[in-house]
Subunit: 334 residues, 2 copies
Amino acid sequence: MVKKILEGRNLIPAQMGEAFAPTNIALCKYWGKRDEELNLPVTSSLSISLGSLGTHTQVSVASKRDVIVLNGDKVKEHSPFARRLRTFLDLFRPEPKLFFEVRTQNSIPTAAGLASSASGFAALVLALNELFAWKLSSKDLSILARLGSGSACRSVFSGFVEWKEGGLADGMDSYAIPLHEVWRDLRIGILTVSSEEKQISSRTAMQRTVKTSPLYASWPEKVASDLDRIKDGIRKKDFDSLGSTAESNALAMHATMMAAWPPVLYWLPESVGVLQKVWRFRDEGMLIYFTMDAGPNVKILYLSQDSELVKRNFSGVKIVAPFGEEQEKEQEYE
Amino acid sequence: MVKKILEGRNLIPAQMGEAFAPTNIALCKYWGKRDEELNLPVTSSLSISLGSLGTHTQVSVASKRDVIVLNGDKVKEHSPFARRLRTFLDLFRPEPKLFFEVRTQNSIPTAAGLASSASGFAALVLALNELFAWKLSSKDLSILARLGSGSACRSVFSGFVEWKEGGLADGMDSYAIPLHEVWRDLRIGILTVSSEEKQISSRTAMQRTVKTSPLYASWPEKVASDLDRIKDGIRKKDFDSLGSTAESNALAMHATMMAAWPPVLYWLPESVGVLQKVWRFRDEGMLIYFTMDAGPNVKILYLSQDSELVKRNFSGVKIVAPFGEEQEKEQEYE
């Protein structure tokens, strides 16, 4: 597949390639692969990119071996992270002896369920595209990022992004497309319950769920219906519909993994505390929902009108305005 | 159905009827009704009765109105509890003007997910059977108890009990039967995280799950396979198989309700803390599993050999030996 995409493209690296990619949070989750090697998903999914939260990466050519620098620290050659990155870089070496220096900077905690691998692989592909001046289409960039980490294919874009599951065995029709809808008032509040490395990787948890969870059989149909509702909610700016569907989708994903064996539960006691709090606020009339990924952290969804309320009641919340805060500031001057 | 069962039976009450029924904990859960009125379940289920933990009830005839005394306190006439009990008693009045005095004593916190309604309705039916000297078969007693609360049909017996779902519309083949297997070493540790009345009744939670949870479609098949494994585990005294299947079944039940809308989550932060602790001990080699009902409390399952370890590590645990502790004590004298 990589060969097909890069056929006839330039092989001579420039001095440096540099790119940023945002992390993304799925509102309709990607959970389960139909192809482990190519990261082909069982279902489509839909995400929102987190603006300036993500990964900034510089790639250049190194002399004797790959050098990987993460957040300013050189990564040990035999660490799982370095191995995974090198295997990915293998796909792109014009000749086996060409090595890379990858300097990457995350503005989010690594491996805390905040999908740093999504922005990481997307930024790397974008930087390689610049280094070699491939001038690939965004579709091809999305496919290449997907090979590093499934959800990375969505991090090639900002805003709302849909990853079409596709049907081809080689994955050439499984890539992300941006929705081009803007929702300035939308806010995401990140509540970091734990930034420790998680004990079970998403990859393992997915595999186990698909293999052993009797509830997974109902997941694809759930996703199909949620996807329609979320896209409809975005089109109509119906926050209640968007939020409730995203929350329900996240809970159903966690439900499928809880029913796996051995059970997979990413929740910590503090996670449940936050969920109960969100429900309490909603009972009191506030428009607030949550989503959770394969980790203990909770992401709340709300509209800018409630930002003060959120700041006051959820201490330590990191607020993200995925489409910027311009309009809000303008309103202040009116 | 009540008419059919009581046809030709004595209508003259004696001075008092008195009975005890144990509460029970399902190892393979009852979750979802095919008939709301008759408490007919979607699937069969299997439980263990908790020895001397349960409800003791005395019934006699009252003069002007029903009188209900719960744990020594007279229950207010218009409370939901009193209404529910009166509606149930209506099924058994030989004439509309015959009233009952029901004095009932629970050795377990009411409505904290410890199924006091199961032992409550079972004890009441057993007491009525004595009051009127009906001399009903245990099958008929189980059917009558079921009309009060589904899981009450299992509380008519001690030990392991299977509730056969049945298929008839009138429910005459939906009742519990005891398994007659004895497992002296089996222990259940009750960890009461909260004894507050729960906000969503099991009845409501079940209805909502059946109606709105996309994952419920996979539940009946899960139960069918778990039921076989649990019965097999009991027959072979294979604790690992019994425990793992019971835990997986409980998690799958909670998973179906989490995916309902609005979501149903009985777990408190402390509940998750206990689950994580059980998993940690298991990772370290201990034979320990858990189950949870429609509430925040956790019931751990283990063998008597680990009683000291459990007492030391789970503060406040209430240990139940469903088949008595005789053998253990004998061993101490050997």
